[in-house]
């Protein structure tokens, strides 16, 4: 079963990090539905936010692969949960790692 995940990567401001991150997904045929990359106020850091659809197993594997990239500082990912009457909209994102 696939879910929609938001994956947040905090990395060093290194020009080749973006392609390295993209390759982690492409190699596993997990398509990036949305990508935002931005320099932070601390200019030595870069933030990447990606939205993908994949399985829980692959989300974890991808997070581990991202974590081992040399210029990656941290990886967090969240699964999108459907909004239901007993699950309010503000809890739409569930923390995974």
């Amino acid at each position: 079963m696939t879910n929609t995940y938001t994956i947040h990567v905090l990395g060093n401001n290194e020009p080749n990090l973006l392609p390295r991150i993209a390759l982690v997904f492409n190699r596993r045929r997990v398509f990036i539905k949305n990508l935002n990359a931005s320099e932070l106020s601390d200019k030595s850091q870069y933030s990447y936010t990606l939205t993908v659809e994949t399985t829980p197993v692959w989300a974890e594997r991808i997070a581990k692969q991202l974590e081992k990239q040399i210029d990656v500082q941290s990886v967090n990912y969240f699964v999108h949960m459907p909004v239901t009457s007993d699950r309010p909209a503000k809890a739409e994102l569930a923390y995974c790692a």
Partner: protein
């Protein structure tokens, strides 16, 4: 050019800084091939030939495989150098090979001047883009003053944690630029933690599982060799009384003549170690990654076992096999701690089960291929005789295919770091350059390349390098005039339709002699021992072509996609 004369105020070119960095990093030998965009570095090298040895190969792929061979038998990274464009792209296979097999390499490529980047200039290629998927890390340097820091970082990353290849691409203007040279070795990087803290609590849990196990089983991978944990593995296995099987790249981490050695895992591995993976109760995998050639059909792999997996790379844990106790740790540290935690034990009943299957393999396979009395020579008897004559103490470098599996099965490794092969990527053409790289790293040891006729012809131009530098490497070509492993599969799984696997081969001995390398060809069983003795007695490089059975198959075999339970003896 005396190094002592250089100090922090000395201004040198970026090109000279490259060479200085290599020397300051302790590099004594590296491999390369010059060309336009790396010419300033080669010009600087001209003045440093008494301080660092450069081996001019015949093709950049030869340089990187030689660097791999060098790294695999030493405690140092392999270093190679190439020019831009095709020089750099010729390194790609080696990079892919090295990242698959966790081989520490530092590759330096020249690049066109920074003003020409992205203009499709002559020999300009996006080397960083091309090499990104097959490097642990890479970077481009466009300023001379950035060269020392980039190379220091490269050496650190290549060797730390799970080793791997790195590439530094240096533009020509950076090579020509002037800078004040100062080199500081990199010893840490922010946010990069290559050596995990030893998880003692998990190791205690592991020890408890091991102490309670009736049929524990160790799978040893190359991580043992990479962390230098050979002695720790022996001590752990002996104290806990656990049989040890080896992956392809783990071969030589545990002596083949040790009573607890169970054998070689994988598609063409030994019968008992494969079968009993599905019978053990606690599986202790150390420094290995559950490659598909080891697991066979994963959903039928070791399902009965409680799996403990120790690896330095967190991304390997739970990647393939569901693991009860994933432990991210350096193998040497983990084994040392575990040995203190486990009880002294022996599992003779469990180990006897291996012996029963070993006997079946001996009768149905081994005796037939090691001691045939008629027909053409078999690969196995050649390797077996070589193993006897060298007392299992040589460094064996193999290519890819049937000969590789046969060498892995029948060479009885007694010394660690003695098996050099292309495992993960399966690169034909690897062995010849890797063998002379290994010989340059370990000149006192006998280095023997065992190669098939197909793979030999992929990099045979490196005979020129062996000839030029008089590298006394021994070469055994097991010639069946076929791409043997593909032919075996065609026979077994494609109704014997031998589609483009038969080879019309040249006179290999004549080719060797063209490079002034002595050689001979042997076809008869009664001549084999004498030929091998001449090979080993030679003081210089020597090539022995052994004509072996044309359509021999390697058994046992786990058919692709089958469970390891379905391993076939014939």
């Amino acid at each position: 050019m005396e190094s002592e004369t250089l100090n922090k105020t000395t201004t040198i070119t970026g090109a000279e800084a490259v060479i200085r960095c290599l020397i300051d990093e302790g590099v004594s030998t590296f491999f390369g091939y010059p060309g336009g965009a790396i010419m300033p570095v080669y010009d600087a090298l001209y003045d440093y030939q008494d301080k660092i040895e450069h081996i001019l190969v015949r093709h950049e792929q030869g340089a990187i495989h030689a660097a791999e061979g060098y790294a695999r038998v030493s405690d140092k990274p392999g270093v190679c150098m190439a020019t831009s464009g095709p020089g750099a792209t010729n390194l790609i296979t080696g990079l892919a090979d090295a990242i698959a097999d966790s081989t520490p390499l530092v590759c330096i490529t020249g690049q066109v001047a920074s003003s020409l980047l992205g203009t499709d200039a002559f020999q300009e290629t996006d080397v960083i883009g091309i090499s990104t998927p097959v490097t642990k890390w890479n970077c481009i340097v466009t300023k001379a003053e950035d060269i020392p820091a980039a190379l220091a970082k490269a050496f650190y990353i290549a060797q730390s944690g799970r080793p791997g290849p790195v590439l530094v691409d240096i533009t020509k203007d950076a090579q020509f630029g002037k800078m004040k040279y100062e080199y500081k070795k990199c010893e840490a990087l922010k946010h990069y933690n290559p050596t995990p803290v030893l998880p003692l609590e998990q190791l205690k849990q592991a020890a408890k599982l091991i102490n309670e196990a009736q049929a524990p089983y160790i799978l040893a991978g190359q991580g043992i060799l990479l962390s230098g944990a050979q002695n720790e593995l022996v001590a752990f296995a002996e104290k806990a009384g656990i049989p040890v099987a080896s992956t392809l790249l783990g071969l030589s981490a545990f002596p083949c003549d040790h009573p607890l050695y169970a054998g070689f895992l994988g598609m063409h591995g030994n019968y008992a170690p494969n079968l009993l993976t599905n019978k053990c109760d606690v599986l202790i995998a150390i420094g290995m990654r559950f490659d598909d050639r080891v697991t066979g059909k994963v959903d039928q792999y070791a399902k009965q076992a409680t799996v403990i997996h120790i690896d330095i790379d967190a991304s390997e844990l739970n990647k393939i096999v569901d693991t009860k106790l994933p432990i991210q740790a350096d193998a040497k540290e983990a084994l040392s701690a575990l040995t203190g935690l486990v009880n002294k034990n022996e599992h003779s009943e469990w180990f006897n089960r291996f012996k029963a299957f070993d006997q079946q393999e001996k009768e149905k396979v081994t005796d037939k291929v090691l001691f045939p009395t008629e027909g053409q020579l078999k690969m196995a008897e050649v390797v077996h005789r070589l193993s006897e004559l060298t007392k299992g103490e040589a460094i064996i470098v193999t290519d890819v295919g049937q000969h590789q599996m046969v060498a892995s099965r029948y060479y009885r490794f007694k010394k660690s770091k003695s098996n050099v092969t292309s495992g993960g990527l399966g690169t034909m053409g690897f062995a010849l350059p890797a063998a002379f790289g290994a010989k340059l790293a370990q000149p006192a040891r006998e280095v023997i390349a065992i190669i098939g006729d197909g793979g030999f012809q992929m990099t045979l131009q490196e005979l020129g390098t062996i000839f030029q530098y008089k590298i006394p490497v021994k070469i055994v070509i097991l010639n069946n005039n076929f791409l043997g492993m593909v032919r075996q599969w065609q026979q077994l799984f494609f109704e014997k339709r031998y589609s483009f696997t038969e080879m019309c081969n040249p006179d290999f001995v004549a080719i060797a002699k063209g490079y002034k390398i002595e050689g001979e060809k042997v076809e008869q069983r009664e001549d084999l021992s004498a030929s091998l003795k001449r090979l080993l007695a030679a003081q210089e490089a020597y090539l022995l072509e052994v004509v072996v059975e044309t359509e021999e198959n390697v058994f046992p075999m786990v058919p692709a996609g089958a469970s390891i339970d379905e391993i076939r003896l014939e």
